[in-house]
Every structure is written in structure tokens, then in C-alpha cells.
Symmetry: C2
Subunit: 352 residues, 2 copies
Amino acid sequence: MVDNFTLSCPTPRPRDSIVTLSHGGGGRLMKDLVDDLFITAFNNPELAEKHDSARVAAPGGRLAFTTDSYVVNPLVFPGGDIGSLAITGTVNDLAMAGAVPHRLSCAMIIEEGLRIETLAAIVDSMAATAAAARACVVTGDTKVVEHGKGDGLYINTAGIGLIPTGREVVPRRVTAGDTIVISGDIGRHGIAVMSVREGLAFETTIESDCALLTEPVELLFGAGIDCHCLRDLTRGGLGAALIEIAETTMLHLDIDETAVPISGQVRGACEILGLDPLFVACEGRFVAFVPADQAVHAVDALHRHALGVGAKVVGTVAAVQPDERGLVTSRSSLGTRRVLDLPVGDQLPRIC
Amino acid sequence: MVDNFTLSCPTPRPRDSIVTLSHGGGGRLMKDLVDDLFITAFNNPELAEKHDSARVAAPGGRLAFTTDSYVVNPLVFPGGDIGSLAITGTVNDLAMAGAVPHRLSCAMIIEEGLRIETLAAIVDSMAATAAAARACVVTGDTKVVEHGKGDGLYINTAGIGLIPTGREVVPRRVTAGDTIVISGDIGRHGIAVMSVREGLAFETTIESDCALLTEPVELLFGAGIDCHCLRDLTRGGLGAALIEIAETTMLHLDIDETAVPISGQVRGACEILGLDPLFVACEGRFVAFVPADQAVHAVDALHRHALGVGAKVVGTVAAVQPDERGLVTSRSSLGTRRVLDLPVGDQLPRIC
């Protein structure tokens, strides 16, 4: 029952109310939203300074710096949500440069009409994921756009990571003779998002592989592996990741398609949907380019972590022939070889 | 004339074509867009490494870290565009922490149907503004959303700045007795965007004040001014900036409204539109909280720069009385004092 007292409160902000344009206007509603939701959830002294920029202590040396916007539809999917994904994706991009996550930013573009309860749940998910990654969200931004000019919520995260001295993880270090190790099975993120969006029912729910990769990557370095390059298998999947590395380095990568771990569920879903699993996105898988004589050791190291139990060797960087520069070839179960090429667009839009 | 040869080209990408969902899918079209447009325009070795994170050298010490998303409507306005604004806003947030811009990120959320020509012009504008700020865009991201799920283009930029040793520019250093110096006239950005969006015709075009603030801020430090705090007058304008500082520090700020520089044009537009100019956004103006005995010197230093010719003292941090903690008061031309309060929402939505 609504009584007069409730009606006379200056700014009631129950969590079941909705975001309005006024929440993005720099006025009282925005300040309250930022204070009550973001500063409370991300709770740390740098954010609490409420300055135009966070002031961050950093040791000298190499930093990693990355950004991604997240437009995944729907906002919640089996195994994650746009909030956990936004933290995970940026932390993983730092890990791929051999960096330990240090500080994160969070910028929201909210469509008018989003329930504040939904926003709060997503912010809580971001805060929990950031805590798991031992990274603080120290700066942010909130914008609101009119109904019909967004799609619920878009999140941008940027991240600063610290690269320990001596680590040089970068595409140009990939060398002919390197072994390509994959950390586990592919394609679960793309299929999980697609199946819930399109209302596809499989016998059991396929969950996203969305996971923080800092720990398995650190296990590799801890085991003394000289990772020449690391690449997570996000938009475009394993195929796109390898093609990018091949084209950047102008080397020839050769993989054994039969060695690539793919769950029966994902394989079945791909067959039904007419998708090539090599190009379906993951959000918790990566490949490592390591010296051939360290490959077994690298796989062993990954096996010690839950996110690496399915790790195996899937290919090599071949000796380059002039006509194979920048190519990725793949051997099928029939022994034939095909050249992998990027699809023109994407098999699955809006999955990250 | 279109001949057979042209038609047989594998992927013609004339700049007058439009962005499609496929440009955000991690496939060939996205790779080409990123290579041809972003990597070419922002041209620097860190970006050219094409890694998941840029690897950035940084000296030890304090960094500033900030992010903002830009949803300004329309994309181009008198005196700027969303691209120049996105670089300027983030560089200015770094400057407000006393930092020199070091590295920037750029993440685009593009609505399907945007002309590539428009996107290219905006990217060129970003690159030119970043060059003027002596900051490199070293990492980025591209997403495309369906028609009707965006509004042409949203841009997020994050920035890392270097804070020279000994600078401590932060709200909690604001002290009773400090003088508040403003760098110039207020309100031109908000009115410029509003007038073009709403088709309001004034006698002469009001241009945005959008400008990089690093140079005038560095002039202050170069003159030996101990800036306790700096704050740019963006969303919510001078009024919101002062209220935020007052509420964060629980001090009492008192300004002389008659001293606040406002052009006749902006004053006239505000009267017609029923806006309070104190709460209209700027994108190239700031206030500095400086020790009282350095105020004249600070104003003199700002006068040496084109962006500071209108600088003047507008108020003080008053001795705090218990009932005035966290308040901003403003003296009018009639000698009366009013307490400034944040509007609930915003007078002008989507101006940044």
C-alpha cells in the first residue's frame, strides 16, 4: 500500500524501478545511481576518490592496455551474463599479453527502460568477477540513451595489466617450429548464447565456457614455458585466432582438425545449425605458441588447472614455403588438407 | 562506368558503402575495416602489433586512468564531432588529475547502416585530435548492432596518463580558504549541440567550446601553482562540478554568479530555452582550486593561453559553518544568495 509518506519522499529509488534518461544527465538521479550502485558494488579507495580519473600506483616497466565493448544479446545466458563476460573478456585480453590484471574501467550505455534490478544484478556479477580476477574497477561512466536507441545495456571495459619483467608475449615471436597448444574444447560460448537467443532446445543445456584465464596462463609461466604468443578464441573462434596470427606473422600454421577438442553437444548443435565449429566463439579458451621441446611440459602444466584439463597439442607452425606464407591449413579426419579462410562476416552475431 | 573487372574484385570496399552486421563479426569484413580504417588512421607501432592488449612502456609512479562513452546526438555539431569529443573528453579527464596523456583506447559500437564514409571522417577526426594531444590510440574494439539497436555510433575511449612526481590533484586536497578560478566562459558546448539537434536558429552559430585542456593545465603547474583540485565542467556544467566537489569534501563553496563568464549568445539562448547556464555543459572549460595567495598568479598564467584568456576568480571555499557543510552557494547580481542544487535529471540529454 502506498501511503502519503512514501509519496512525499524526495527521490524514492526502489530497485524495481527503471532507468530513465534522467539517470544519465549528470544530475541528482545519476549521482545517486553511481553512488548507490557502482561505487557501492565496486567498493575501493581509488573509485571512492570520485575524481575525473582514478589515480593508480604502478611499478615501472611494461603495461598491457586493452578495451572491449560488450553487446551480447541476451544479457543473461547459460554460464554467464554481460557483466561477468565484460570483466572476463578484458582480463583475458590482458592475460594474452602475459599480464596480470591491475585496474579496470567500466562504462555503461543503458537503454531507457532497463530495470534497475537487472542493472544491479549485472553490476554485482561484474564486481564478483573482478574480485575473482583480483582486479579493481576504479573508474567508470554512465550514459542513458532513449528507448529504441540501444538494446538494454552495452558495457565497455578497459583494463591495465602489469607484465612481469622478461615476458615477451607477442605475435612476432611466433617462429617456425613452434607447437600450438589449445587449452580445452571449443565453441561452447557461441552455441550457449545462440541457443538461448533463438530458443533452440538441446537435450541438455550447453553452458558458456566464459572463464578467467589468468590462472592457467600463470601456470604456464610458473612451469618455465617460454610462451611466444597467446591468443584467446573469442569472436571468430579458433579459426579466426589462427588466421590473424598467420597473417600478422606471415607464417604457415598447420593444425590437425581431429585433435581439436569439441564436445559432442557442440558438434551436434553445429551440424544442425550448419556452423563450422572452428569458427564458433569461446570466452574461456586460448592457444599458446610454445617452443616444440616445451610442448609436453606446457600441456602437463595446463592439466593441473580445471580450465586446462582438456589441453592438448593441435598443430605446429610449419616451415614456410613461399606459397604458404600467412596461411592456416587444417588436416581433416580423411587426411585431406584445407586452407582455412575467415568467413566474410560472422556465423553468430552479437555473442560478445 | 562499372566494368567486369571491377565487378570481379573479391571484396570492394568503397568508402560510400555502409556498415553491416558482418563488419562486427570477427570475419574478413571486420578485419579489413579494422586494418583499413583504424590501424591506418591511428598508425603507431603498439597498435600495429595486433595483439589482444597493447604493450605499453611506462615509468614507475602514479598513473591516471579514466573512461567515458560518448553518445552525443547529432554525431557532428558546430565546433566538433563525436570523434574529436571522445578524444578531448578523455584527455581532459586525465588533465584534471594533473596527468599528461600517454595512451588511449577506442571502442566503437556502430549501428548497422552507418555510412563508412561517415565513420572514416570521425576516425580521422579522432586521429587528428589524438595527435594534437600527443597521445596514441593503441588498442580498440569494433562492435556492430542491428538497425534500431543503436543510434549511428557510440564511442568509448579510455585513457592512461602519467602524473609527474609531486603532483597531488584530488578533491580531498580542497581546503577552506582556497580560491576557485574558472578558465573561461561557460555553456557553449551544450547550447551548440542542442541548437543543431533541435533546429534552433540564433543570429550567429554558437560553437562548442570542445578543446584539449592539457596545455592550460600545464601552464598552471609550470607557473608553480599548487592546484589542489581541477574539475572540467562537462555534464551538469559548472553547477554540477562544484556540487560534486562540495559533497565529496563536505566543504562550503561560495561563488559570485556575476563573475561567471557567460557569452551574450549563450545567455540569450538559455533565457529562450528556460535553462540555467550554470548547469549547461562545456567540453573545454575547468575550475581550479588554488591557494588564495596564488590565485592572481594562476589567473595570469591561464591568460597566456588561448583557452584561458577569459580566466577569472569566481569564488572561494568558505570557512565551514556546521549547517553549510557540502553546500554550494551563489550570490546573484541583486546580492541575494541561493543554494545550488543538482537538477534531478538533466536539462540537455545526449550532449556528450
